[in-house]
Each structure stands twice: as structure tokens, then as C-alpha cells.
Symmetry: C2
Subunit: 212 residues, 2 copies
DNA sequence: GTCTATATTTCGATAGAC
DNA sequence: GTCTATCGAAATATAGAC
């Protein structure tokens, strides 16, 4: 396991031994993002200073500015990682009208991505206000964003009330549980988590398991 | 003197006309909390300054310090409002072992409180990182806190995996949907929302509706 | 209880050397 | 690409008059 020093060691973030080698292969830019992700997840975006990020990386605060234009720029880069995930899913879903069945398919795809992106997704959950502020900043006309797509679905008065609640509940059940997943579901394998989550989603949506 | 409408704030909080009279009856302390709640919900705790809070109230920033010792103190007071809600529910739930059925009862009680406390609950969802930081600050030994109670239940390895996921999912489905509730479920009556939410919870937990 | 004015601190960001 | 040193802004918080 990791050495006992979770203190502000100037150099090591205490990565698992196997990841130490990987870190050498990563660009400095990616290492900055990884450290930032950890800190934003743990302390929140606003309460994390550039000084802390630099400290954990072992170099000075000013050096960050060679790689990123601003603190918000780091945040945006993490937002882009999330955005890339959502694009994966949107492609599965054409412009067809949103049914409970297509919603289930969408969420199934989302759930599959959870194990590989748990920290990123949990960080988003814990910093919703900051993310929404960012969202306003980059007021994208092209709301290809998954979030936007989702919200507009919930708001669609043409859909029956029950269906809208089912969709919102299913989505929230998945994303919300992410917050607990690290600390509370320690013993669970990724496969267990994924399978159980999907079962819950299908319960909530009132559709049978996906006949893939 | 009470500075009735000397509000030169650029934008109105737009309180319902009937609430204007109520504001006269409230203590200044409560009015500060109400304005803070609105701003923390809209912009996030960290990005809301005391200057903005004071501005909306029509008096100066320094005046806030007569009523609260610090910004965090305002936050704590809102935390206490939430805490009071959770105590309501914990009393329903003794020290009995947690079953899916008792969990359903707990969440039903929680859902009933949603309409009257929507903003408060949504604000919490949007500021999870800040709330958890606060939680660490007041490291309460007596974890009578609802949140803590819940997390420890999810972590209980004695419970079957499926049950733990069901519980976490049901809770998250409810709290997460709060974020959407204001903007997306505008047309819905409180009764509809409450009933639908309860149905979803019982689906997720795999228990029939509460035979109350 | 509220004011004006100011202290204090922290942080994001920049300049310029190496 | 990283450093030291520093700037400037903004925020929290305090002092003391009214």
C-alpha cells in the first residue's frame, strides 16, 4: 500500500507502485489534471488553490501557467474529459424521441463507463455549482452537452409526468450513488456495481433489462 | 428604520407579494439566512460574497457581522436547518436494524418534507464539497447526523450487496432529482411530485407502498 | 444595529531570469 | 519548463463612530 505520509510531501502524491511508472509516461499537462482532479474531488474546486496543486506536483505555482492559462482553464480541461464521455453516449442516441427504453440504453452505456471514470464523475457531483458556473461562461449554442439534453427531456411537458420523474430519478440514482461508491462500496467489484446499478435503473424506468 | 424598498439592487429576488409582508415579521437574522440560501443555491457558496448578500438585503457588509460571526457561521446556520429536518426523520427510526422496509419509511418521510424545503435541499446538493468541508470542521462525535447514518448503512458489509445498492440508489434518486425539480418540474403540483417520488423509491427498494 | 473606513489575508496571475 | 519575486484584486473580518 501507499506509504503513511499523506502529508504535503513535495514530491510524491503517493501513487500505487504500478502507477508510478505510468506517471513517467504521462505529459506534465495530464499529471496536473490528475492531481487537480484528486484535489477538486477531495476539497472542492473553490477551496483548492493553485499553490496546493503545484505543491503536490513538486514544482512551483508559476510553472502551472506554462501549461494552463488559468485555474479555470484546468477546470475546463476536466470538463472536457467529461464531455468526451457524454459524446460517446449521445452517438448511441440519435434524434429519435426519447422513450423509457432509449433512456435505459443511454444510462446502461453511462454505467459501463463508471468504473474507469469514477473519480471524474464523483468530482462533478461534488462541484455542481462550480460546473454550472463554468457552463454559463462557455454559453455554448450547440447544446450537444449530455446534461443539457437530459434537462430538456425532463422539462418536456409533452411527456407524461410519470415518465419524466422516472428518467430524472434513474439518472440521479446513478450519478448520486457515485459519491458513495468509493468510500462505501469498497468491497464491491466493478462488475457487481455495474450490474446492480443497471438493475436499479431498469426498475426505476419500469422496463425490462436491455435485450442486447 | 426598516429600509422598506430602498433596495437599489440591480435585480429583484422577486418574492411573491404575500411574502413581502412576512419579511417584516422575520428577524434580520432569518432574512440574512433566506437571502444567503438563495445566493448559495444560485451561485454556489464559495462564489457568493458577503458583499452580495448585504447588497440584496439593503445594508452594508459590516452589518452582517453583528448577526453572524463569519461567513462560515451563516453556512452553519443553514446546515442546522437541514440538521433539524434530519432529526425529524431519525426519530421515526429507532436503533432497529435497517431493512429495506424501514428505509422506505425513512425516505417517505423525507419526501414529504421536500415541498416545504426544496431550496434548502437543492442548495445542499449543489454545494456538497462545501458541506462536507464544514462537516469535517465540526467533527461531531455524536454522529446523529442523517447523512452519517446513511453512509454507514451503505458501508455495512453485513448487508447484502444488492440491498446496499438499492438503498444508496433510492436516496440518490430522491436528492438528486431535487436539483432538477425547480426548473424542470415547474408544472407539477407538490402532490404529484411527492407521490411519484415515493413510487420510484419503492420500486428501487423492491418493496410495496407503505401500508400506513 | 448599522455605518464608514481600514486592516489582513489569500489567491490568481504576471514579469523576467535561468 | 521551471524558478523567484511581486503585483493587483477581491474577499473576509475588524475598529470605532453614530
Amino acid at each position: 500500500m501507499t506509504p503513511g505520509r499523506s502529508v504535503k510531501a513535495p514530491r510524491e502524491v503517493a501513487p500505487p507502485p504500478s502507477a508510478a511508472a505510468d506517471d513517467q509516461l504521462k505529459t506534465t499537462r495530464d499529471r496536473i489534471l490528475d492531481v487537480s482532479l484528486d484535489l477538486f474531488l477531495e476539497k472542492g474546486y473553490d477551496k483548492t488553490s493553485l499553490r496546493e496543486i503545484a505543491e503536490q506536483l513538486g514544482f512551483s505555482k508559476a510553472a502551472l501557467y506554462y501549461h494552463f492559462a488559468s485555474k479555470e482553464d484546468i477546470f475546463k480541461a476536466l470538463h472536457n474529459r467529461l464531455h468526451a464521455l457524454s459524446l460517446n453516449n449521445l452517438s448511441h442516441l440519435g434524434d429519435q424521441t426519447l422513450t423509457l427504453r432509449s433512456w435505459a440504453t443511454l444510462l446502461d452505456g453511462f454505467i459501463d463507463m463508471i468504473p474507469a471514470n469514477r473519480k471524474l464523475l464523483a468530482m462533478r457531483e461534488r462541484n455542481r455549482a462550480a460546473f454550472d458556473s463554468l457552463h454559463d461562461t462557455l454559453h455554448k449554442k450547440d447544446r450537444e452537452d449530455l446534461d443539457e439534453r437530459l434537462r430538456s427531456s425532463f422539462s418536456d411537458a409533452a411527456l407524461p409526468v410519470e415518465q419524466r420523474i422516472r428518467m430524472a430519478f434513474a439518472l440521479s440514482g446513478v450519478t448520486g450513488a457515485l459519491i458513495f461508491s468509493d468510500e462505501s462500496f469498497q468491497g464491491l467489484s466493478d462488475e457487481e456495481l455495474v450490474r446492480e446499478m443497471k438493475d436499479r435503473v431498469h426498475d426505476a424506468l419500469g422496463v425490462g433489462p436491455d435485450p442486447d
